[in-house]
Symmetry: C2
Subunit: 259 residues, 2 copies
Amino acid sequence: MSPSSLKSPPRSARSAEQTRAAILQAALHEFASQGVAGARTDAIARAAKVNKALLYYYFKDKEALYGAVIDQVFSGLMETLDGVLALPVAPGEKLLRCVGAHFDFASSSPMLPRLMQHEMLRAGLQASPHLKHIAQTYFRPTFGRLAAVLVEGVRAGEFRNLDPAQTIPSMIGVVVHYFSSLPVITAVLEGDPLTPERLARRRAAVLDFVAAAIFRDPARAQEMLQRVGVPLQAGAVQAGAAFDELRPGSAPAQLGEKR
Amino acid sequence: MSPSSLKSPPRSARSAEQTRAAILQAALHEFASQGVAGARTDAIARAAKVNKALLYYYFKDKEALYGAVIDQVFSGLMETLDGVLALPVAPGEKLLRCVGAHFDFASSSPMLPRLMQHEMLRAGLQASPHLKHIAQTYFRPTFGRLAAVLVEGVRAGEFRNLDPAQTIPSMIGVVVHYFSSLPVITAVLEGDPLTPERLARRRAAVLDFVAAAIFRDPARAQEMLQRVGVPLQAGAVQAGAAFDELRPGSAPAQLGEKR
DNA sequence: GGGCTATAACTAACCGGTTAGTTAGTTAAC
DNA sequence: GTTAACTAACTAACCGGTTAGTTATAGCCC
């Protein structure tokens, strides 16, 4: 409603917002695959099917466009996590659900974790003003809530004696590394690491690994894994297969099961 | 000895090799902090205190220089790991020592893991020919040996039912992520995350996390951690401190211990 | 050993393709 | 006819790479 007057809410409105979204989408892809320095504004414009000057119509410069992309992605992830953190469940389940949600967010578009990695690597060793903003706005609050869940679980005796400031980066590492090392994984064990089956296996393995590292009682870990829908781990019984897959050429003669 | 004849082994030899090394060193730093695309050859030359043209005297182009740096770093890490893998100790201890060695390698110069991360992120989602070479030459053999240790540990009942192809990337993620997210960490919990004390604490936490995730019997995990010299974890007893440190500004009213 | 040449190590100055960003304008909705 | 949305064409700076040259050391012949 309120069709006219005031300023210009829907003005011409035939696209505009869509165009902006298209630019952001194209920029996301370009920045994620090439990094900020490697990204070409021409390529972004081409992918978004707009004239390059339009990028500068909507955004001050390349850096601002990058900032908008980053903001969108990080806020998306943190909102998702906050949703999970608001669930009325035990710390153990909540934490595993968080890890699962993080994994799902990452696997929903493998560009996202790569974009985040690029952002982390930008600027030498200390945070740029831009990254400081990200850290304060997105990471800090959500990580605070996550830390509270960890402390709660430790106090309740459900978790091992964990330090949240250490445990959070460790868990993130487990989730994220698979995606940031995709090219290497592709090269070491051949085949697409992003098929639904592979992703499902990875997801289960991540949750299993984290659960084992977090819970005091292994039985409780298993119980919670089942509760969040993670099937029992395949592991070394079939590890012959996984192992062969890891090194198809150079099997060390021994270890030669049948198949 | 053999002062002359033949070709020109030590020729003038007053520096040359040192100059080359200086260039590689400067390039390592520049590539690690800016990425390949972001790295400036001018900056490398300046840092190495040589004329830019000298880069092209020793290396074909920027890409070749980058390749030389990468090769040096990755081969260094893999040699270190192979040394540990050759030790005549039980799988559990060997694995923890590997993780420790990886961490030490990374922390010896925090530029190294960042350089590696940059390399992983280069080129969209599948491996470049260059990265394929790295994967085949460095990763594959060492990872094969690591996988064998894992399988051995699982068969012996020392480890949980683990799939090496999943466990290896998870462990690497735990080690590496701290370093690749240094700027964020700096911004979230203030203070230098690279002080000897902080690094020691992180190292212990990483080994503790991995041990808990790997070993079947928690008691065995503790035993092995002690054996490789990891002190007992601080954890949530002091977690009040760590937690406050994680979110100095925005404590949620509850949880308000004294300090 | 003195003068000569060859060559490794290194540099100042330059070049031109690439690329972020601009300008001056066109189109079309209201 | 005003203004939001959009574009073709341009520009200035940046940056990888080259060129043409300098310095210095080692070898060599007499």
